[in-house]
């Protein structure tokens, strides 16, 4: 395939991945890496390198919109970034040493788990905690967010568990070149009881910083191919921007079901492909 055609097709694929990732809230990376490896026959190391670049772009590109809403909590984000960035370093080191077949299988398992998380996402939100762990105040993690007619304050609990889960989220991000936003939201929302909207917006910021921690290692190890990163980065960024803008109008429920089935299938395919090589 000539370069122009290859670049154009990868761009279109990345655009769709970014669009779907934004509409479902799972991020572009989970579709992008299987797309590159299974459809375009790209070695998984180049695929996760390009994906990681697009993850940083998406996170930074969405930041201004998220800030405007006033939900994100910079202290929670910064505090947990200690865990995610160190995890990301470990993940990137692992990625440079792990066999590609194993990498594909791990990716497949994470995809299946993401499908499970996305399918479960329709559950009811938990109420805010007004009294949390005593460490919530000491570590300045308690906060407030705007509600109609005032402000709702909240505190957090189970900080060590949240911190440990964030380390895991960082490791996955560095190992597989994905944002692992779902795990980050899980750690904040479900474990630490950070309000859902605060969790999702704070997670967006954390994704970029986390990915930047493994990007340096990827670059030094030669995982980031310029000619491949070019269409992937611009495609995913464009797709996610459009997706975020039309998020309210789309039939998210139906889309989520379709997406869940798609990533489930991709996950199985990655595992089978990895095991057969």
């Amino acid at each position: 395939m000539p370069l122009v055609l290859f670049t154009a097709l990868v761009f279109l694929g990345s655009l769709s991945a970014g669009l779907l990732g934004a509409l479902t809230g799972l991020g572009g990376g989970v579709v992008l890496v299987p797309l590159l490896t299974l459809v375009f026959h790209v070695d998984i190391r180049y695929a996760i390198g390009a994906s990681l670049v697009s993850v940083i772009a998406t996170s930074s590109g969405a930041a201004a919109a998220y800030v405007r809403d006033g939900y994100s909590n910079i202290r929670i984000g910064m505090f947990l970034e200690i865990a995610t960035t160190i995890g990301a370093l470990c993940g990137a080191f692992l990625a440079t040493r792990m066999q590609t077949q194993l990498l594909a299988i791990v990716f497949g398992l994470v995809l299946i788990y993401s499908a499970f998380l996305s399918w479960r996402q329709s559950r009811h939100p938990l109420p805010e905690l007004t009294t949390g762990s005593p460490w919530s105040k000491k570590l300045e993690l308690s906060g407030e967010f705007p509600v109609p007619g005032g402000k709702q304050s909240y505190e957090v609990v189970r900080i060590p568990w949240g911190f440990a889960t964030m380390f895991g989220a960082g490791t996955l991000s560095g190992l597989l070149g994905i944002g692992s936003g779902a795990v980050k939201v899980l750690a904040m929302d479900r474990i630490m009881r950070v309000p859902f909207k605060v969790s999702t917006t704070t997670s967006n910021f954390m994704i970029g910083v986390t990915a930047a921690a493994s990007a340096g290692i990827y670059l030094h190890r030669g995982f980031i191919d310029p000619a491949l990163s070019f269409p992937v980065m611009l495609g995913v960024l464009g797709g996610s921007q459009v997706g975020a803008r039309y998020l309210v109008k789309a039939n998210v429920k139906l889309l989520r079901i379709v997406f869940t089935v798609v990533i489930l299938a991709l996950g199985l395919e990655m595992i089978v492909n990895g095991a057969m090589q």
Partner: protein, 134 residues
């Protein structure tokens, strides 16, 4: 005389809002700039290699001149398209790093010792990844 803890927290949180708004803009400018550089480099690359058939089936690692800052800078100066794309990627990686550095400055102005320490740790981890020799 002790300061009222509630007003103190409010002042801090107000500072946080401003800080986050500026950071949001910082990130957006960074990603726009990086995208523009990648687009220019990418367009030049495609233009320079029209008949080239890309093959990513086998991993060969990128050549040394695309993996180190000084070599990339030389490539950009020489107008090498691949180096220009890598420069864009480096700018992109730099945006979240700049956000953490910016937070460090803001926490220093707020004299929040705990979060000065927290953002310093994050910054050190990021710097280690970017600068450590492999």
């Amino acid at each position: 005389m002790t300061s009222d803890p509630i007003t103190n927290t409010r002042a801090k949180r107000f500072g946080d809002r401003q800080m986050e708004t500026m950071m949001g803009h910082l990130l957006q400018v960074g990603v726009l700039l990086a995208s523009a550089v990648v687009l220019i480099g990418g367009a030049l690359y495609v233009h320079a290699n029209p008949g080239h058939t890309p093959d990513y089936r086998t991993f060969q690692s990128e050549p040394q001149n695309l993996r180190h800052f000084r070599a990339v800078a030389h490539g950009v100066a020489a107008g090498d398209p691949a180096s220009i794309i890598v420069l864009g990627v480096l700018l992109l990686i730099a945006t979240p790093v700049a956000r953490v550095a910016f937070a460090l400055v803001a926490f220093s102005i707020e004299r929040d010792k705990l979060y000065i320490a927290v953002s310093l740790i994050v910054l050190v981890v990021l710097m280690f990844s970017l600068l450590h020799p492999v």
